[in-house]
C-alpha cells in the first residue's frame, strides 16, 4: 500500500539543476523587462526621450504613459520581474553555486553582479524597496529599506563578487553566460563600472561618496573598450525578437509607433549629429530631422520616427557601455569628484564618449572621430556639466530607464538636463519621477509596506 501511494514525485520538473540554468532564465527575463512595454515604453515616454506622436493614427496614441497614465500592470510586472523571475532565480543560483562541492565561486560572483544591477534598478524605479529582508524564505513580510541602504547594498554585493571571482578556478558560467561567455576579466571590469555608476547616482545626495569615486577612477580596471559592453543580442527569429521590434511588427504593420522627441532631435540637428539617421527615420518629404514635443501630434510628412534599424529584430538590449563609462569619467574630472578637476582630461573623455557612442550606433570610425573632435572643448563652454549631461542623455535615448535616471541625477529639480516641460495632455503638477508601488504584487500583501500612496511625481532620495 505504501508503495502504491509513493507516486508524488513531479515527472515534469527537476529536483537539482546547475545554477547556469537559472542564470539564463534570469538574464532573459531581465533584458525582456528592460526592452518591453512594462519598463522601456513607460520610462522612455515618461522620461520624454521618445514621444507617442499624439493623435497620429499610427502613433502609440494618447492618452498614454506620456500623459502619465501608467498602467498598474507596468508597476506590477516590473516589480515581479525584479523580485521573482530575475532576482529570486539569481539568489537561488548563488545559493546553489555556493553550496556545491566544490564551490562554484565564479558562478556565484557572476550572479551577484547581475543581482547588484537589479537592486540598483529596482530602487531607481520605485525608491525605497525591500532589500535587506528580501529573497529570504524565512521572512514573509520584508521591510522596505531606505534607498540609501539599498544602493549601498548593491555596492556591497559587487564588492562581495569582486572578492569572490577566482581566476584559478575553471568553474564558472561560460556557455550559459549570454553577456561575456564566462570572460571573468570583463565581468570584473563591468562590476567596477556598475559600482562607479551607483556611486555617481548617490554622490549628489551623499557627497562622502566622492572619495571612493576618486579612488576607483585612479585605480582603473573599469570598462575600457567597446568589447566590454554589457548587452545581450536578440535574434531575428520569431519568438526571439527584440520586443521593441516585435510590438511594431505585431501591432503596427512594422511601422515604428514612436516619434523622435524634440529634446533629443533638436539638440542633434543643431550639431548635424551623424547618429541622426541611425536613431531616426526621416520622412522623404522632410527637409531635415524634426522631433516633436511630447504629446504633440506627429506629422508623417515632417516628423521623424524612431528608426527600425535602431530597434531591429536582432538589436541587442544594452545595459552598460564603454561610452557610458567615459561620460562618468568626464563628469568626475569636470566636477573634481575625489580627484582634482581637470577640464582638459574631461574634454578628451567626453569627446571619446561621443565618438564611442557614434561608433556603437553604426557611424563609421572616421566620421565618428571627426564629429567628436569637432565638439567644443569643455573649457570653452559656459556650462561644461550641462553639455556632458546632455550628450550622456542623448546617448541613452533608447534606454528608457537609464536615460530617465541620468536625467534625474543631472541636476536639482528644475535644473535637470535637458530642461523638460510637462508633456501636452499630462495632468497639471510636477514631472514624472518614479513608478508607484504595485498594489497586487506587494502592497496589499505586505503589512510592512508603506501605507501612504507615493505618487509618480514625488522625488526619491537620490533625486535632488
Amino acid at each position: 500500500c505504501e508503495k502504491f501511494l509513493d507516486i508524488n514525485k513531479n515527472p515534469n520538473a527537476a529536483e537539482n539543476v546547475d545554477p547556469k540554468l537559472l542564470f539564463s532564465y534570469a538574464s532573459t527575463s531581465y533584458i525582456n523587462l528592460r526592452s518591453s512595454g512594462d519598463l522601456y515604453i513607460p520610462m522612455a515616454l515618461g522620461g520624454q526621450s521618445i514621444t507617442t506622436g499624439g493623435n497620429n493614427p499610427t502613433g502609440w496614441g494618447i492618452p498614454s504613459e506620456e500623459q502619465y497614465q501608467f498602467s498598474t500592470f507596468s508597476y506590477g510586472n516590473t516589480w515581479r520581474a525584479y523580485y521573482t523571475s530575475v532576482g529570486a532565480n539569481l539568489k537561488q543560483a548563488i545559493s546553489l553555486a555556493e553550496s556545491a562541492t566544490p564551490k562554484n565561486n565564479n558562478a556565484a560572483a557572476q550572479c551577484k553582479v547581475l543581482l547588484a544591477l537589479v537592486v540598483y534598478e529596482a530602487t531607481t524605479v520605485y525608491g525605497d524597496v525591500p532589500f535587506t529582508e528580501a529573497w529570504n524564505t524565512g521572512i514573509s513580510y520584508p521591510k522596505f529599506d531606505a534607498q540609501q541602504t539599498v544602493l549601498n547594498g548593491s555596492i556591497a554585493l559587487i564588492d562581495e563578487a569582486l572578492a569572490q571571482f577566482d581566476d584559478a578556478s575553471a568553474l564558472k558560467i561560460s556557455d550559459y553566460d549570454m553577456f561575456f561567455k564566462g570572460d571573468l576579466a570583463k565581468w570584473k571590469r563591468l562590476a567596477k563600472s556598475v559600482k562607479l555608476r551607483t556611486l555617481m547616482t548617490m554622490v549628489d545626495k551623499d557627497p562622502t561618496k566622492a572619495t571612493q569615486i576618486g579612488q576607483m577612477v585612479t585605480e582603473g580596471g573599469l570598462v575600457s573598450s567597446a568589447a566590454d559592453n554589457f548587452k545581450v543580442g536578440y535574434q531575428a527569429v520569431t519568438g526571439k525578437k527584440n520586443p521593441k521590434f516585435a510590438i511594431n511588427e505585431q501591432y503596427n504593420g512594422g511601422r515604428n509607433f514612436f516619434f523622435g522627441s524634440k529634446y533629443v532631435v533638436d539638440f542633434m540637428r543643431n550639431l548635424s549629429d551623424p547618429r541622426l539617421p541611425k536613431f531616426f527615420t526621416k520622412p522623404v518629404e522632410a527637409t531635415d530631422y524634426f522631433g516633436i514635443e511630447p504629446g504633440a501630434d506627429g506629422d508623417d510628412k515632417h516628423d521623424v520616427r524612431i528608426s527600425n534599424t535602431l530597434q531591429a529584430a536582432d538589436a541587442p538590449e544594452v545595459i552598460f557601455t564603454y561610452q557610458e563609462e567615459l561620460f562618468y569619467e568626464a563628469e568626475i574630472y569636470t566636477r573634481g569628484l575625489g580627484v582634482g578637476a581637470d577640464l582638459t582630461k574631461a574634454s578628451t573623455l567626453y569627446k571619446k564618449a561621443v565618438e564611442e557612442s557614434c561608433k556603437f550606433n553604426g557611424v563609421d570610425g572616421t566620421t565618428a572621430s571627426t564629429f567628436a573632435n569637432g565638439l567644443p572643448n569643455l573649457s570653452t563652454v559656459p556650462a561644461p556639466m550641462a553639455l556632458i549631461n546632455m550628450h550622456h542623455w542623448v546617448d541613452k535615448m533608447d534606454r528608457g530607464l537609464d536615460a530617465f535616471t541620468q536625467w534625474r541625477r543631472s541636476g536639482p529639480e528644475g535644473q535637470e538636463i535637458p530642461n523638460l516641460s510637462l508633456p501636452i495632455g499630462a495632468p497639471a503638477g510636477k514631472l514624472f519621477r518614479r513608478y508607484e508601488y504595485p498594489t497586487t504584487n506587494e502592497i496589499s500583501s505586505n503589512p510592512n509596506a508603506p501605507k501612504e500612496l507615493v505618487k509618480y511625481n514625488e522625488k526619491m532620495w537620490f533625486d535632488l
Binding site: 507516486i7 518591453s36 493614427p57 523571475s85 539568489k91 524564505t137 525578437k241 496589499s444
Partner: protein, 1021 residues
C-alpha cells in the same frame, strides 16, 4: 340506520395490506384504523362515504352504497417524500431514516426547461445550493456552491457521482494565445465536464449537502456531493420515448447606449478612438468626417448598431430512449443530441450522448449491471474573454462608436483586393469585430467515455457483497487560431492543446442487514475504495504563419511545445453502522480512513467519523389531521482532505518562454540556451490534511393532510487547517507559500416550504419555496492580515480577512470622516485610496419560488429566483462609461459640472467648488484604476424558468392511444426576465473566474448571457 362494513386496505403498487390506515366517515366524527393485516370494521349510517387516509398514499373516498365489504387499494403519493433516497455510495435509504438534509430531485424537475449543462437546472431549486455561470458561452461552465465556499485554497465544488462512479468535473483554464503572455484566468470558456452528461438520462439527483451525508465518500466530497442515478428499464412492455425541443436565444441584457455623440477626444472627432467622446452629432451636420472606410461622410447615429451585431441563437435538443425489462433483466438505451448556434455569429456547440444501462439477475442472488456512457461535445467560435488577447470580443463589439453602421462594418471586414483586414480604426486597438469572429476561431472537441460495472451477490439472506468498478476517461482537443493581419498579432498564430484525463475507481462493499429483535434492526456496511486520477496536457503554440489561414505547425516560423502531467491516488476503508428502532428512531455511525498520495508519508493517513440520527416523533403521537408527519434530525461529522499532487518538494521547472509585455517575449532555447526557474510557490514538506467539522439539525414536518410541508435545517460547518497558498509579497521572491492555516466557518438556515393551496380532481396548485441564508466567516493566523483568493486586474483582488467573509477589494474613492468623497482641488476629480474592502462576494440570502399549476391535462410551472446581497464588479460597465458610450455619460456634457464632494482646505473639509475639466475626464475615473467605481449590488430577482405543457389525454388520442402511451406538447423558457437588479448594462449573475476559483462576482469582458424560449414535444410509445 347503522350497518357494519368490513374490508381490507392494500397498497395498489404491490398489493400488500396496509396497517394503521385511518378510516373515517365523512361528515362525522366516526372513525377507526386498520389492523396489522390491513383489515378494518366500522359501523356507518346509510349512504355514508368512507374516507381512507394514510401517510405516503393518496387519500381516497368511497361511497358505501349497498355493499357490506369494501376493499380499497391506495395509490402511493409521490409528492410525499416518504420515499427512497439515493445516498452516498448509491445506498438507498428511507427518507425518514436520514439524519441530515438530502433533497432529491427527479429527472423531470431537471428537464423542465432544458439546459445543455445540467448544473444550471439546479438554480433556485434546492435550498443552500448556489449556481453561477461563467459566461454566456455555449457549452460554457457553471459553478455550484453548496452552503457557501468552505475552502481558502481553491473552489469548493461538490463531488459528482453517477451510479456510484465519481466523475471528473474539471474546468481547465489554459493559456489561450501563443507567446509568452500569462493569461488572465480565463480566456475562452471551454466549459466544465459535468456539462457532458445527458440530463435526460437522470432518474434522480440527490444533493448531499453536509459532511454527515458525504462522510462515506471521504475527502473528495468535503464540499458536498451530487449523487445521480440514471434511468433504468422497467419491467413490462418495452417503450420508446422521444423528446424534441426547439429554442430561440437572444441577449438577456443589452447595454444602454447614448446616441448623440460621435467618436473622438474631448469633443473633437478622431477616427482612431473607439468611444463616444467626440463631437455632438447634431452640431456637426455641416461638416464631413472620414469613416473607417476613409470615406468622408456626415455623421449619423445608428441607434441599434450593437443590437444588430447579435443574431438569434437556436438550440435543438432531441433525445430518444428505448427501454424495457422482464423478471430477470432490464435495459435502457438512449441517444441525445444538442445543437446550438449562438447570439454571437459563428458560435456553435453540439453534444451527443449515447448511454446503455443494462442489468441482469442470474440465478436468484447474483446481479450484474453495467452502465456505459459515451459523450462527444465541442464548440466553435468560443468568445475570448478576459484581457491581453487581440481576440477579446466583447470590448470590440460594445466599443463600436455610435456613428458606425454595423451592416457596413459586417460587409467590410476584409479588403477583397488585398485580403487584408479593414480595421475599425487605424490604431493598435482597431480590430474589426467581424474579422475576429469570421477568422479567429477558438474551438474544442471532446470525446469521453465513462461507465461502470456493478456485481452484487447475496451470500446469505442478510449478507450481500458488491463491487463497483468504474472508469472515466476523456480526451479534449482545443485550438485557437489568430489569422495573419489581426491587429495585435499581425503575423498570425495558433495554439493547440491536447488534454487527457483518466480516473479509475473501485468500491468493494459488504452489507449485512438483520433484525436483532422485532423492533430493532441493524445494518452494517463495510467497504474499501481505490481511486486514481491521471492528467496530461500537451500544448503547442505556433507563431508567425506564412501561408494565410493554414494552421499547420510546419507553416509557422516557430513552435513552442509544453507538456505537463500529474497522477494521484487514494485508498480508503470505511464502515457504516445503522440501527433502526420500530421504524421511527434511527442512528447511523460512520467512519472512514483515507490514505492520500499527495500528502507527506507521515501525514497521509487520516480518519474521520460521523454520527447522525433521526426521530419520527409523530409515530408516537395519536393520529391527527393537523400534524401528519414530524421528524427531527441531527448529525455531526468530521471530514479530512488532502491536496493537489506535487505540492511538497522544491523543484525547478523548465521554462518555455520569458515574459515581455504585449506578448512578444522570448522563447527558449534563446541564444541557444535553455532555462529553468525556481517555483513561484514555496512548497511545504509538512502539509497535513485539512479538517472539516459539521453539525446539522433539522426538522421535517407535514401538516393538514400533507397540504403543508416544512423542512428546516440549521448547520454549522468549520474547515480548519486549510491547505492554502498564502500570498506573499513578491519581494520575498515568491508569490505564495503552501501551508496549513486558517479556517472558514459557514453557518446558516435552510427552509423548504411546500404548499398545496388548491387541490381538486381537476385543478391543483403546488407552491414550493426554498430559502437559504449562509454566513461565512474566515479566521486567519494573527500574522496574516489578509488572504488572497484571486488576483484580478488593476488592484482588484478577491480576498478575506479574519472575522469577515470573502470580499472584493480594490481602489476606492477617498472619503472624509463623514463619508463624503474627497475631490482633488487641482482637477475637480475624485481622489483614490488603495486596497479597500468593497463588499462581500456572497449573497445574504437566496430564495427560489416554484409554482406548478395543473388543470386537467395542462401544467403551468414557473420558477422565480432571488438573490439578496453581495457585490459584483463589472468591467463592461467600466468600459462603456469611460469610453463615453453608455447612456449615463450624456449628462452634463458641455456644461460646467462640479462633482459632489469635499476638498481639503488646511485641515478642514469644505464642499467642493472646482469643476471637472470635462465629462470625459470625469468618466475617465470609472476606469479599472478605481475598483469601487465599478462595484454594484449583486441582488436580483429573475424569472428563471417557465413551462406550459399539455398532456394530450388518451380520450383525444383515440385509437392511437393503444400504442401511444404519452403525448405531451409544451412551451418553455429560461432566464426570461430580470425582474429587478442593480448592475447597469450587464446581467448581475456572472462569475468570470469560473468553477476553478473560490472567487466570485467578477465580470470581465464576459460573453453576455442569453434568454431562451421555445417548444417541446414528448412522445412515449
Amino acid at each position: 340506520q347503522q350497518k357494519k362494513i368490513t374490508g381490507t386496505v392494500t397498497s395498489k403498487a404491490d398489493g400488500t395490506p396496509l396497517p394503521a390506515v385511518t378510516v373515517t366517515v365523512k361528515g362525522s366524527s366516526l372513525g377507526t384504523q386498520t389492523d396489522g393485516d390491513g383489515k378494518f370494521s366500522i359501523s356507518v349510517p346509510e349512504n355514508a362515504t368512507l374516507s381512507f387516509s394514510y401517510i405516503g398514499f393518496k387519500a381516497k373516498e368511497v361511497s358505501v352504497g349497498a355493499s357490506q365489504t369494501i376493499n380499497v387499494s391506495l395509490d402511493a403519493d409521490e409528492r410525499l417524500l416518504n420515499e427512497v433516497v439515493v445516498t452516498a455510495l448509491g445506498i438507498q435509504r428511507d427518507a425518514k431514516a436520514l439524519g441530515y438534509s438530502a433533497p432529491q430531485l427527479k429527472g423531470e424537475e431537471l428537464t423542465k426547461s432544458r439546459e445543455a449543462n445540467v448544473i444550471n437546472s439546479l438554480a433556485g431549486k434546492v435550498a443552500g445550493v448556489r449556481v453561477s455561470s461563467q459566461s454566456g458561452t455555449l457549452g460554457g461552465s457553471s459553478k455550484i456552491i453548496i452552503r457557501g465556499e468552505s475552502g481558502l485554497g481553491g473552489s469548493s465544488q461538490p463531488l459528482f457521482v453517477i451510479d456510484g462512479m465519481p466523475i471528473d468535473n474539471g474546468a481547465q483554464q489554459i493559456s489561450t494565445v501563443a507567446g509568452a503572455v500569462p493569461q488572465g484566468s480565463a480566456g475562452a470558456d471551454f466549459g466544465n465536464r459535468v456539462g457532458d452528461i445527458n440530463p435526460e438520462d437522470i432518474e434522480t439527483m440527490t444533493v448531499l449537502k453536509g459532511a454527515a451525508a458525504t462522510a462515506l465518500y471521504g475527502a473528495r466530497a468535503k464540499s458536498g456531493a451530487i449523487v445521480i442515478s440514471t434511468k433504468k428499464g422497467v419491467k413490462g412492455n418495452a417503450s420508446v420515448t422521444f423528446n424534441s425541443s426547439v429554442r430561440m436565444d437572444d441577449i438577456l441584457k443589452m447595454p444602454e447606449f447614448q446616441n448623440e455623440y460621435a467618436q473622438g477626444v474631448q469633443g473633437t472627432y478622431n477616427i482612431a478612438s473607439t468611444n463616444g467622446w467626440g463631437p455632438k452629432i447634431s452640431d456637426v451636420q455641416d461638416k464631413t468626417f472620414p469613416n473607417f472606410l476613409a470615406q468622408d461622410v456626415h455623421l449619423k447615429a445608428y441607434d441599434n448598431n450593437i443590437k444588430d451585431f447579435f443574431q438569434t441563437g437556436k438550440t435543438y435538443i432531441n433525445s430518444l430512449a428505448f427501454s424495457g425489462g422482464n423478471e430477470t433483466g432490464d435495459y435502457r438505451f438512449s441517444y441525445a443530441n444538442i445543437s446550438q448556434t449562438g447570439i454571437i455569429p459563428n458560435q456553435k456547440y453540439s453534444k451527443n450522448n449515447i448511454t446503455l444501462n443494462a442489468g441482469k439477475t442470474i440465478g436468484k442472488d447474483f446481479n450484474i449491471r453495467t452502465i456505459l456512457n459515451y459523450a462527444n461535445s465541442g464548440g466553435d467560435g468560443r468568445p475570448v474573454q478576459s484581457s491581453n488577447n487581440p481576440n477579446v470580443i466583447m470590448p470590440l463589439i460594445y466599443g463600436v462608436p455610435r456613428t458606425v453602421d454595423m451592416e457596413l462594418l459586417r460587409n467590410n471586414s476584409i479588403n477583397p483586393e488585398t485580403g487584408q483586414q479593414i480595421t475599425l480604426t487605424p490604431a493598435r486597438n482597431g480590430n474589426n469585430p467581424f474579422w475576429v469572429i469570421d477568422n479567429n476561431n477558438f474551438s474544442n472537441d471532446l470525446n469521453r467515455f465513462y461507465g461502470n460495472a456493478i456485481l452484487s451477490y447475496k451470500i446469505l439472506n442478510w449478507l450481500t457483497v458488491a463491487n463497483n468498478l468504474g472508469l472515466d476517461y476523456y480526451n479534449e482537443f482545443r485550438q485557437g487560431n489568430t489569422r495573419n493581419g489581426t491587429i495585435g498579432a499581425l503575423t498570425g498564430n495558433f495554439f493547440t492543446a491536447n488534454i487527457f484525463n483518466r480516473s479509475f475507481n473501485n468500491d468493494f462493499i459488504a452489507t449485512a442487514d438483520t433484525k436483532i429483535t422485532n423492533d430493532l434492526s441493524l445494518k452494517v456496511i463495510g467497504g474499501a475504495n481505490v481511486f486514481e486520477n491521471y492528467y496530461q496536457r500537451n500544448q503547442s503554440d505556433a507563431q508567425t504563419l506564412t501561408v494565410d489561414q493554414l494552421y499547420n505547425f510546419s507553416n509557422a516560423a516557430t513552435v513552442t511545445t509544453t507538456n505537463t502531467s500529474n497522477k494521484w491516488r487514494m485508498v480508503g476503508l470505511y464502515g457504516d453502522i445503522g440501527l433502526s428502532y420500530k421504524d421511527y428512531l434511527f442512528l447511523n455511525v460512520t467512519g472512514r480512513n483515507d490514505w492520500s498520495s499527495t500528502l507527506p508519508a507521515e501525514n497521509r493517513s487520516y480518519f474521520y467519523p460521523s454520527v447522525s440520527s433521526s426521530f419520527v416523533f409523530t409515530e408516537l403521537m395519536p393520529s391527527n389531521k393537523w400534524l401528519n408527519y414530524g421528524k427531527l434530525r441531527a448529525s455531526w461529522a468530521n471530514v479530512g482532505s488532502g491536496t493537489d499532487p506535487y505540492q511538497l518538494a522544491f523543484v525547478y521547472g523548465p521554462q518555455s518562454t520569458a515574459f515581455a509585455q504585449y506578448g512578444y517575449g522570448s522563447q527558449f532555447p534563446f541564444n541557444g540556451l535553455l532555462a529553468f526557474s525556481i517555483p513561484s510557490v514555496i512548497p511545504n514538506f509538512n502539509l497535513k490534511p485539512q479538517n472539516q467539522i459539521t453539525t446539522e439539525i433539522g426538522a421535517d414536518l407535514r401538516f393538514l393532510n400533507n397540504r403543508v410541508k416544512l423542512d428546516v435545517t440549521y448547520y454549522n460547518s468549520k474547515t480548519d487547517d486549510q491547505i492554502i497558498a498564502l500570498t506573499l509579497p513578491q519581494s520575498t521572491g515568491f508569490t505564495s507559500k503552501k501551508m496549513n492555516a486558517g479556517s472558514v466557518t459557514n453557518k446558516g438556515f435552510e427552509v423548504a416550504l411546500g404548499l398545496v393551496p388548491v387541490k381538486t380532481n381537476r385543478f391543483d396548485w403546488n407552491f414550493d419555496l426554498n430559502f437559504s441564508q449562509n454566513k461565512q466567516t474566515t479566521q486567519l493566523p494573527s500574522e496574516v492580515t489578509a488572504y488572497t483568493l484571486q488576483s484580478g486586474w488593476s488592484g482588484l483582488i478577491v480576498k478575506t480577512r479574519s472575522n469577515e467573509s470573502f470580499g472584493i477589494f480594490g481602489s476606492a474613492w477617498e472619503r472624509d470622516p463623514n463619508g463624503n468623497i474627497v475631490i482633488d482641488p487641482a482637477t475637480g476629480l475624485r481622489k483614490t485610496k488603495l486596497d479597500q474592502r468593497l463588499g462581500s462576494i456572497n449573497p445574504d440570502w437566496m430564495l427560489g419560488i416554484n409554482n406548478s399549476i395543473n388543470f386537467k391535462s395542462f401544467n403551468l410551472s414557473f420558477l422565480i429566483d432571488v438573490r439578496q446581497g453581495g457585490v459584483v464588479y463589472s468591467n463592461t460597465a467600466s468600459s462603456l462609461r469611460t469610453s463615453g458610450l453608455a447612456k449615463e455619460t450624456l449628462a452634463n456634457r458641455g456644461n460646467i459640472f462640479i462633482d459632489k464632494g469635499v476638498v481639503l482646505q488646511g485641515t478642514e473639509y469644505v464642499p467642493n467648488t472646482v469643476p471637472v475639466q470635462s465629462m470625459q475626464d470625469f468618466w475617465g475615473q470609472f476606469s479599472t484604476t478605481n475598483t469601487e467605481a465599478n462595484i454594484f449590488d449583486a441582488s436580483y430577482v429573475k424569472l428563471r424558468e417557465v413551462k406550459f405543457s399539455y398532456k394530450i389525454p388518451s380520450s383525444i388520442l383515440g385509437k392511437s392511444a393503444k400504442f401511444m402511451k404519452e403525448l405531451e406538447i409544451g412551451v418553455e423558457g429560461r432566464n426570461l426576465w430580470i425582474i429587478s437588479d442593480h448592475v447597469p448594462h450587464v446581467d448581475p449573475e456572472v462569475n468570470f473566474f469560473g468553477p476553478g476559483s473560490a472567487a466570485d462576482g467578477i465580470e470581465f469582458n464576459s460573453a453576455p448571457s442569453t434568454r431562451s424560449f421555445g417548444f417541446n414535444l414528448r412522445v412515449k410509445i
